[in-house]
């Protein structure tokens, strides 16, 4: 059962376009992590957001954590073919008996055409 809903599931765009991927949940997470995964490889961590309302920028990527720490977005400016891949959001809980187990969204497959 996926507790994190990602949208859209598929995104096919031209080089230079902008895009936004959304990650929504009814649950509160201690932190939310965004990963990028290429075929045949494991997920690679892009960023972790912790504070409600937090915005982090990584070159052309902007990540935002919702005020209530239930949702997040990833915005890519001027997409390039090298951005092609599966983007995953994952929530972690670290309070009480939790230990950082990740709950993943179903992923967004991004294809950027030259």
């Amino acid at each position: 059962t996926q507790l994190l809903e990602q949208s859209p599931q598929f995104l096919s765009i031209q080089e230079g376009e902008n895009l936004t991927v959304y990650c929504n949940s009814s649950s509160v997470f201690s932190s939310l992590q965004w990963y990028r995964q290429e075929p045949g490889e494991g997920p690679v961590l892009l960023v972790t957001v912790v504070t409600g309302g937090e915005v982090k920028k990584l070159k052309r990527l902007t990540f935002q954590f919702g005020d209530a720490r239930k949702d997040s977005s990833l915005h890519i400016t001027a997409a390039q073919p090298g951005d092609t891949g599966l983007y995953l959001c994952a929530g972690a809980r670290t309070g009480g008996t939790s230990y950082g187990k990740l709950t993943f969204g179903q992923g967004t497959i991004l294809t950027v055409h030259p």
Partner: protein, 120 residues
């Protein structure tokens, strides 16, 4: 090596065969996780170890799945009597975990490349 290493990278098993998947976590990482990933989907949690102790196995889909980490480093995921529905990529991840106070930094997970299991 510096990262999480998994072997084999690819495994083809005949239905009914037993398989063993190996994970070498980053040295010194206390926490180790196994996840299962279907094609084009997000990973789903299988089990968690803190050192050699298996503290959560709630995600294991059946009693045919068994995991161990006897010395608190290398872990093995074993699947007995494989079925076609077991076909997936099995990912291992490790994090610093509870070595110190539980903080954001020590819960960040590093993933291996995965083992793609195909049951025919």
């Amino acid at each position: 090596g510096a990262g999480v290493s998994q072997s084999p990278r690819y495994k083809v098993a005949k239905r009914g065969q037993d398989v063993a998947l190996r994970c070498d976590p980053i040295s010194g990482h206390v926490s180790l996780f196994w996840y299962q990933q279907a094609l084009g989907q997000g990973p789903e949690f299988l089990t968690y170890f803190q050192n050699e102790a298996q503290l959560d196995k709630s995600g294991l889909p059946s009693d045919r799945f068994f995991a161990e980490r006897p010395e608190g480093s290398v872990s093995t995921l074993k699947i007995q009597r494989t079925q076609q529905e077991d076909s997936a990529v099995y990912l291992c991840a490790s994090s610093l975990g509870f070595r110190w106070q539980l903080t954001l930094m020590n819960t960040e997970a590093f993933f291996g490349q995965g083992t793609r299991l195909t049951v025919v």
